[in-house]
Amino acid sequence: METPVLEVNNLKKYFAVSKGLLYSILFKRVDYVKAVDGISFDIKEKEIFVLAGETGCGKTTTGKVVLGLYKPTDGQVKYKGFDIFRIRRRQWRRIRHKLQMIYQDPYESLNPRQRVFDIISEPLRLNKLYKSKDELYDRVMKVMEDVKLVPPEDFMIRYPHELSGGQRQRVAIARAIVTNPDFIVADEPVSMLDASLRASILNLLLEFREKLGVTYLYITHDLATARYVGDRMAIMYLGQIVEMGNIDDLIENPQHPYTQALISSIPVPDPEYTRRKRRIRLEGEPPTPINPPSGCRFHPRCPYRMDICEKEEPTYVDVKDGHIVKCWLHIKR
């Protein structure tokens, strides 16, 4: 069996809640936000794996841990078989540029005082991935053509504030792919863009998978775009994956009550369909990840709540060809 590009095993990331030194000395305890609490998944080569969920479910934190930006509290992240938190620093420096990220907000992710050429060429310069000045220019030109910032000469000398939102996001993408990465975390890459520009950015990402063999972790709350680009999807709720599987199967036959509610809430750009569909209404709003509910974390809002849900945490059940769900409804007792 081929090794997956990314393997995540029982990953946990807790953030200490600072209540002051005095508090922690007096009460001898530190509260934690359990942003990510024991998740596992793997992503095969050239796959687009979607991590979806609502605000505060831990999806962005997962993306950052996977890139080595945060150290995990527990668990493993393996890139092509190497545990990225165990390998030597030297070796990590060599492969670090193979893992990149595309951010949500192109106004924040570009240095306002750098020119487009400097922004895009920076990863090459920092990793000395070029032999001559000419090669550097050529590669930047090439990648700018790839992301359709044409003609490149017109954009090279501009500052970010002289570009439109769509153009900035193209610069950010160019910067991410200039090192020929194997793996890219795309964190809501189109949610800040206007509707008419989104499709072209999404298609760009798909194009790079075909041309360069890039594997993606696509983080989003927007299941419609997710379904357009994704192959497999995991739904997160309060730091845990509640359901995971093939994206079409998961959206057409959601098994977890949360997924069902989520999918039924999403408006569809077809007035007849969207007004006919039945919506599952959820009680309340997600609790904070500081003191998550006992047992199944979804139980306080679940329409099918049973006694056991409050007491014990459910395990994963495979409902169909790797479509797994974490819910007592599917556990035969």
């Binding site: 930006l69 992710s109 306002p112 005082r113 000469e153």
Partner: protein, 300 residues
């Protein structure tokens, strides 16, 4: 093809000063700012050309003491019979020199502390900020007096002493800006690209706090010039150099206000006030341009 790019690259460097040009274009519209700037330029020219402007050697006795203004000495003479006009012109040199040098020193210390403290955070931040607090709460003038008594009255010590009490406010300012820059995702993106901390500090943080540092420099200069005058007025100045502060000190000491020549005290006072005001005007003007909150809102 690459040749073509190089040509375009060259044009890029031609455009390097575009931002500065744009800044000057906006600045020129600010009347108060232009007034301040012209005054400062005049002072600088006076300081540079002092030996050619002054009618008399300021260190020489050229007439009777405390002469009131007369055709030969337009502002009269001091207690030793030196020409007040010539003394004031020479005083410009020391005031500007001390003000600018002390400010640069303080900006350097302040920016370094602020950036390092804001960027690294944690223990480094705690330590540096407590030190900064210590310097901030020290009562300025008494501390200066004690220090200059210990170090002795020469011009370099005065510069050092002024820098020591001025840097903490710059450090605070730079630190808070760094803290907010640090959370912007382009810093994280640089880390992903393989940048080291030093690289990020210089290439991403410093270039973005530079406008703030330059604005704070203008304000500090005013303070430094006044401080120098204050110190000298208290008799802690460098007695071998002529500054407006030392002039005021001697004028006060010999009761110039009630002598035959009150201009001895008025002239250096006016010179000092106008220079201070000029810097304040400039800093207002810069603040109006640089500070985004004062700019008109962007249209949606």
């Amino acid at each position: 093809m690459t040749k073509e790019i190089r040509l375009r690259q060259k044009r890029k460097y031609g455009e390097r000063f575009r931002e500065i040009k744009e800044f000057l274009r906006v600045y020129r519209k600010n009347r108060l700012g232009m007034l301040g700037l012209s005054l400062i330029i005049i002072y600088v020219i006076i300081a540079l050309l002092a030996p050619y402007i002054t009618p008399y050697d300021p260190f020489e006795r050229v007439a009777d003491p405390f002469l009131p203004p007369n055709p030969e000495h337009i502002f009269g003479t001091d207690e030793l019979g030196r020409d007040i006009f010539s003394l004031t012109i020479y005083g410009t040199r020391i005031s500007l020199f001390v003000g600018i040098l002390a400010t640069l020193l303080s900006a350097f210390i302040g920016s370094a502390v602020g950036i390092v403290s804001g960027y690294f955070g944690g223990l480094v931040d705690d330590l540096l900020m407590r030190i900064t607090d210590l310097f901030l709460i020290i009562p300025g003038i008494p501390f200066l007096i004690v220090l200059s008594v210990i170090l002795g009255s020469n011009i370099w010590n005065i510069i050092t002493v002024i820098a020591i009490i001025s840097w903490p406010s710059t450090a605070r300012l730079v630190r808070s800006e760094t803290l907010s820059l640090k959370t912007r995702t382009f810093i994280e993106a640089a880390k992903l690209a393989g940048a080291t901390d030093t690289y990020i500090l210089f290439r991403h943080i410093l270039v973005n706090v530079l406008p703030l540092i330059s604005a704070s420099i203008i304000l500090t200069i005013t303070r430094a010039i006044i401080l120098e005058a204050g110190l000298s007025f208290l008799g802690l100045g460098d007695p071998t150099k002529i500054s407006w502060g030392t002039m005021l000190y001697f004028a006060d000491r010999y009761g110039a206000m009630f002598s035959t020549n009150p201009y001895y005290i008025i002239i250096p006072g006016i010179a000092l006030s106008i220079l201070g005001l000029a810097f304040v005007f400039v800093s207002y003007a810069i603040d109006e341009i640089v500070n985004p909150r004062l700019k008109t809102r962007r249209l949606r």
